[in-house]
């Protein structure tokens, strides 16, 4: 049995769903962030798979590297915010974040 494009797309879809579930259901701000990163990685898996099976260049793999760098920057900003919230409140509960938003 050969592993084709569909297998990778299914993996991507599963990763994406796992990310969505984490964003929607987890209360911990770091867990929500990990969910976002999972969604981005699902997009990366798609890009690499499309590149390998359909277009045949290396463009998709190069883009994935760019996306990884962007995701790192995003995570850095998110963690900086979370640390600042933690300094102020000693907890990083998303529910409390929302309740204070008014």
């Amino acid at each position: 049995m050969t592993i084709g494009l569909n297998a990778y797309l299914v993996i991507g879809a599963l990763l994406f769903s796992a990310g969505v579930v984490a964003v929607l259901s987890r209360r911990n701000a770091v867990a929500v962030l990990i969910g976002i990163e999972l969604m981005l990685n699902a997009a990366n898996v798609n890009l690499v798979a499309f590149d390998r099976f359909v277009s045949g260049g290396i463009g998709g793999q190069v883009f994935t590297l760019f996306v990884l760098a962007i995701a790192a920057a995003e995570a850095a900003v998110a963690l900086a915010i979370i640390l600042n919230v933690f300094d102020a409140h000693d907890r990083i509960d998303v529910d409390r974040v929302n309740s204070l938003k008014g």
Binding site: I36, A43, F66, I70, V77, I81, V85, K101
Partner: protein, 496 residues
């Protein structure tokens, strides 16, 4: 110099950002002049590019001289010429405006980095606007988004952190959707240059129709989050309310409209008018419903707010409806109104947020009661606010009227006259909340001591009055924006 201007307009603010971040550690006072010079260059350059686009039709710049499908092209036609000029001029005026406000609201050690983030923010939005490559657009979208999260979180009050975090979560989801859409588009066509994708799309629609549809769906939803289109607007009021005043000004006048521009670009240049009208008309109908709902719901929430920043944020939720409605109607007149609204809304919302920033600087809080007596103590500021409020409502001889006139024309031409009711209701509600402000500005009880006791510093006053004057110029000399906008709309729809 003239030939490489499209690249310089983006590169100069980016280099200036690095310069302010590095040099600002030691020469903190030089951060503002550097930011001002860089944005002034971007503003002058973008006006020059718009001038060339008006006369030459399309300005094309190839990064590194690579041919189009291989390298990244910067491609400026009338549509992004308009948006580019808007972003660059708003950034310049905002930076001019923000010196005193930043001194007050950002702690001293962070001021130089604040200007660096502002410059990167400008770079990001200029890049989204100018590029002709979809992946490049995504990268600039992320630069712009990440810097806006930082700007929001730099607010002094701790609510800014929470608002920044909420914005980060929703914004990242939106960007991820756009990325997945671009990935599918790449799969279906094997290309990333916008014009190249457009040329290959008809073939792709035969081979992989569902991939193209999936791509359009993901990109549309992602950009709808980014432009805070009702009902995906929940990040926006918090972000605009708790960000520092200067960041609210900058973001409210540019951010969501640039996402709306990206939607125009994808829908009409990349996917093409034929695709959105003949293959998937339901999507545009759905977006029309969302835009119409936004036009009414935004002002409806705004009426009840006592915090001026939050009121204006909900007002922006409504105003983005006007920008999107023209795209959803796929009609030259309506689109002329919407494209002209890029400028009109930037001018009116810029002026209003500038005035609110002055109120915050002088009185310490954006509560609506702090507007009382503004007309007596700060007549110039109050005048700018009045003109901007009239433009937001859509009174004749202001820019807002031009938008609404052409949008109304478009609804009648497409036989969707029921949308006229939404436009009227939206204007009426806008008049209600703007009247709440103007009544305090001009007709407050003279016995009450005004909260703002003196005029703003001259930098703020010049910028605020320029925003206010722009509302009048776009209304009185309406042919300037309308001629360019209608040529842009006809070019997008392929009519000539």
């Amino acid at each position: 110099m003239d030939a490489s201007l499209p690249a310089l307009v983006v590169v100069v603010p980016m280099l200036a950002a690095i310069l302010t971040a590095l040099a600002g550690r030691w020469w903190r006072r030089h951060a503002w002049p550097v930011a001002l010079l860089a944005t002034a260059f971007a503003a002058a350059g973008s006006l020059r590019i718009l001038w060339r686009a008006v006369h030459e039709g399309v300005v094309l710049y190839r990064m590194g001289g690579w041919p189009v499908p291989t390298g990244i092209p910067y491609r400026i036609d009338l549509l992004n010429g308009i948006v580019l000029a808007m972003v660059a001029c708003v950034s310049f005026l905002s930076v001019l405006w923000m010196r005193e406000s930043v001194k007050r609201e950002i702690r001293q050690a962070g001021q130089a980095s604040y200007y660096a983030v502002v410059l990167l923010f400008t770079t990001g939005f200029l890049g989204i606007t100018i590029t002709g490559d979809v992946f490049n657009l995504y990268v600039f979208l992320e630069i712009a988004s990440i810097t806006s999260y930082v700007l929001v979180a730099m607010g002094r009050r701790r609510e800014g952190l929470f608002a920044g975090y909420q914005y980060l979560i929703l914004g990242s989801i939106g960007a991820t959707f756009v990325l997945i859409g671009i990935g599918h588009l790449y799969m279906a066509t094997g290309s990333l240059a916008m014009t190249d994708i457009a040329a290959r799309l008809s073939g792709a629609l035969v081979d992989h129709p569902s991939v193209v549809h999936t791509s359009f769906a993901f990109i549309t939803v992602g950009l709808a989050i980014k432009m805070a289109l009702f009902p995906l607007h929940s990040w926006q009021p918090g972000a605009y309310t708790y960000a520092p005043s200067s960041a609210s000004l900058l973001m409210a006048a540019t951010a969501t409209k640039v996402a709306a521009y990206a939607f125009y670009r994808f829908a009409f240049t990349v996917f093409g008018t034929h695709y959105v009208t003949a293959r998937l008309p339901q999507v545009m109908d759905g977006i029309m419903v969302m835009a119409a709902a936004a036009m009414v719901v935004g002002p409806l929430f705004a009426v009840r707010q006592d915090n001026l920043k939050r009121m204006l944020a909900y007002s922006s939720v409504g105003q983005i409806g006007y920008v999107v409605l023209g795209a959803a109607l796929v009609n030259a007149s309506a689109m002329t109104g919407s494209i002209a609204h890029f400028w009109n809304h930037a001018a009116s919302k810029g002026a209003l947020f500038a005035v609110v920033g002055i109120v915050v600087l002088r009185s310490g809080s954006p509560h609506i009661d702090n507007l009382r007596g503004l007309g007596r103590r700060a007549p110039w500021t109050a005048a700018a606010m009045t003109v901007a409020a009239l433009s937001l409502v859509g009174v004749p001889l202001t820019g807002g009227f031009v938008t609404k006139y052409y949008l109304a024309l478009g609804t009648l031409e497409t036989g969707r006259g029921v949308l006229l009711a939404f436009i009227l209701l939206s204007s009426l509600l806008t008049a209600v909340y703007m009247w709440r402000c103007l009544q305090r500005v001009w007709f407050a009880d003279p016995d009450l001591e005004p909260a703002v006791t003196r005029e703003a510093p001259w930098t703020m006053r010049v910028a605020t009055l320029t925003f206010g004057a722009a509302c009048l110029v776009f209304g009185v000399f309406a042919w300037i924006p309308v001629d360019i906008a209608s040529a842009a709309a006809r070019a997008l729809l392929g009519e000539n």
